[in-house]
């Protein structure tokens, strides 16, 4: 038992070192490029919003425009790795927890960044139930990151249920890919 524990903590340590390397090494440039991409998407959304306002729709003009890039295909920041879940579950596996430790370290190293956690499901199950389940996954993720010392006000959550699968195929491998939580830097 003890030996396993030691091995686990060794793993965690290794992961942390690895994460730190990642954070120092590759994070900056890719993060910058995705940010510009997101900016572009945001700009597009603004013009769309204006057009729609012009079309005489009322009461819905307000924005959170930056969020709109969620509509484009999700592109996780490379330093914030996505995590996966089991069918109809939102508890964090030890694998997921290890990844979150990694992610928490990244967030602590980049304390100016705010992150939105997006919960997703596979296509099985009712759409509404899965929206709720996706939110559960995002919330469980958020809570764990908080417990690792990431400030609460830097983390927001949203659920897309089964609306945006990574892999639209109908097989177990695809389903496993799609039951996930992703992390988006809010620009």
């Amino acid at each position: 038992m003890k030996r396993a524990g030691v091995r686990n903590s060794m793993q965690v340590l290794l992961l942390m070192v690895f994460a730190a390397m990642l954070a120092v090494g590759c994070a900056k440039k890719p993060a910058a490029t995705t940010a510009t991409a997101a900016d572009q998407a945001g700009a597009q959304q603004v013009t769309q919003g204006v057009e729609e306002m012009g079309a005489g729709e009322t009461g819905i003009g307000e924005g959170m425009v930056g969020d709109e890039n969620a509509m484009s295909m999700p592109q996780a920041v490379s330093s914030l790795e996505r995590i996966y879940f089991n069918f109809d579950r939102y508890d964090l596996s030890s694998e997921a927890q290890a990844i979150l430790v990694n992610n928490a370290n990244y967030l602590k190293a980049n304390s100016d960044q705010k992150v939105r956690i997006e919960g997703y499901c596979d296509e099985r199950g009712s759409d509404e139930y899965n929206l709720a389940l996706g939110e559960r996954r995002a919330l469980a993720t958020q809570k764990y990151l908080e417990s690792l010392g990431v400030a609460k006000d830097r983390l927001s959550v949203i659920s897309y249920g089964e609306e945006m699968p990574l892999d639209p195929a109908q097989n177990e491998a695809a389903y496993a890919m799609n039951r996930r939580a992703e992390f988006k830097i809010i620009p």
Partner: protein
């Protein structure tokens, strides 16, 4: 004295009257009504075969879909089918009864400028009388609706309950590349896109008067509840709490909306005013509570909850606050839909990775499976008369909208191919 006379008479008659034991007939020999569905004839002016054909086709589709009728082959029709006699004295009922027809649809049409006038008559061939008649006026583009409306009238005449064919079905389709809200006729014709959110639009529901649709949209960056007025196209955001604002359903009296919000960090059923005001929280449980469906009286809600582990169907009594689980089989039950008569709740069950549609009594007894075969059948919703269920299915590849009779027969795809269609909702009668 009089009694004596009758007795005497009876005695006198006795030798000449054959006395038989009673005859028992234990099932009708004909379990569909034989209907002669004739093509409408020009009342005056030039004939327009296209109009006559479309009226006939729509009528024929509706009659078939109802499952009530056996349509006689028009090739067997005799002279009366080509004669514009629209009163019971002008119709040659002998011809029709010889063909075995029990009811007869006749009528005529006329163009008045750019307006189209259509007259429909329904005759009882056995009693040799007019059962009902309607005239419709509109534009040539309204032909289908006119035929649907008279099909509804025919169902009313034959069963006492109006048909649903002239109502409409709202649904979600992604053919533009985004999930948007659409509207179509009950046979899939006249489909029309209603939203341009370029985001994700989900799960519509009609207001009881049919003039509004509520739905969830991700356009604001959060799944918020919208209302759209069908007449003006105007939209407003009704519920935009942090987290989910999903699976909203109008109360049958139209005065309140039940939906799932997760502002508290947990998905709970909540009651809203139709102006979006928060009325009260209906559930308070750590589990997921989604997909409310009102009982017709508006005093109960069926919904989905995982409070006992797996998702199951529960019924919440709004007066007593009591909650009772009604689905006792399976491991994954979802999307309840309370029938307009109130006697059954349709829902879906995931089994072997496939959803099928079931119905159950609101007390949890008498569960029946309605669909079989390959593919998922999801999101059942009732027609306003309770005769049909509309649902989405991927049995032919891409997701499409289907309807079937409430006993599971007559399944038919109605949505066009080329997009992924889902989340149907059937309007009330119009």
């Amino acid at each position: 004295m009089r009694r004596f006379a009758t007795l005497l008479f009876a005695l006198l008659c006795l030798p000449a009257t054959s006395v038989m034991a009673q005859i028992e007939v234990r099932a009708p020999g004909q379990q569909t009504i034989a209907v002669a569905n004739t093509e409408l004839l020009p009342l005056s002016g030039f004939p327009s075969p296209a109009i006559a054909r479309e009226l006939h086709e729509v009528m024929s589709y509706d009659l078939d879909m109802s499952g009530l009728f056996r349509q006689l082959d028009p090739a067997s029709f005799l002279g009366d089918a080509k004669r514009l006699g629209l009163t019971s004295t002008q119709v040659d009922f002998n011809q029709w009864s010889l063909l075995g027809s029990e009811i007869l649809i006749k009528g005529g049409y006329r163009m008045q400028g750019d307006r189209l006038l259509v007259e429909f008559r329904l005759f009882d061939v056995i009693h040799r009388q007019l059962l009902t008649g309607r005239s419709y006026s509109g534009y040539p583009g309204d032909v289908r609706t006119m035929a649907h409306k008279f099909a509804d009238v025919i169902l009313k005449s034959v069963t006492g309950k109006e048909g649903p064919f002239s109502s409409r079905i709202a649904y979600i389709d992604n053919r533009t590349g985004h999930k948007e809200l659409y509207l179509m006729d009950t046979d899939g014709a006249n489909s029309l896109r209603l939203t341009d959110h370029r985001s994700i639009v989900l799960n519509p529901d009609f207001s009881p008067n049919g003039r509004e649709v509520i739905f969830t949209s991700y356009r604001p960056g959060n799944p918020d509840l919208y209302r759209k007025y069908l007449g003006t196209g105007q939209e407003a955001r009704l519920s935009f709490k942090k987290g989910l604002n999903i699976s909203a359903r109008f109360k049958p009296d139209g005065r309140e909306i039940a939906l799932t919000q997760s502002e508290s960090g947990n998905p709970e059923l909540v009651l809203l005013g139709t102006d979006g005001s928060q009325r009260r929280r209906l559930t308070n449980h750590w589990g997921i509570d989604v997909d409310p469906s009102w009982s017709p009286a508006g005093d109960k809600l069926a919904f989905v909850s995982d409070r006992q582990g797996n998702p199951h169907i529960f019924v919440l009594d709004l007066l007593s606050g009591q909650t009772k689980r009604i689905s006792n089989n399976g491991k994954y039950n979802a999307t309840p839909a309370w029938s307009p008569d109130g006697d059954r709740i349709a829902f879906t069950r995931l089994e072997g990775n496939v959803f099928d549609i079931y119905t159950i009594r609101p007390d949890g007894t008498d569960e029946r499976r309605l669909t079989f075969g390959p593919g998922n059948k999801e999101h059942p919703r009732w027609s306003p008369d309770g005769r049909f269920l509309v649902f989405s299915s991927d049995q032919d590849g891409g997701k499409g909208i289907y309807i079937m009779r409430a006993d599971g027969t007559g399944m038919q795809r109605i949505s066009a191919t080329g997009g992924q269609s889902q989340h149907p909702a059937w309007s009330r009668q119009r």
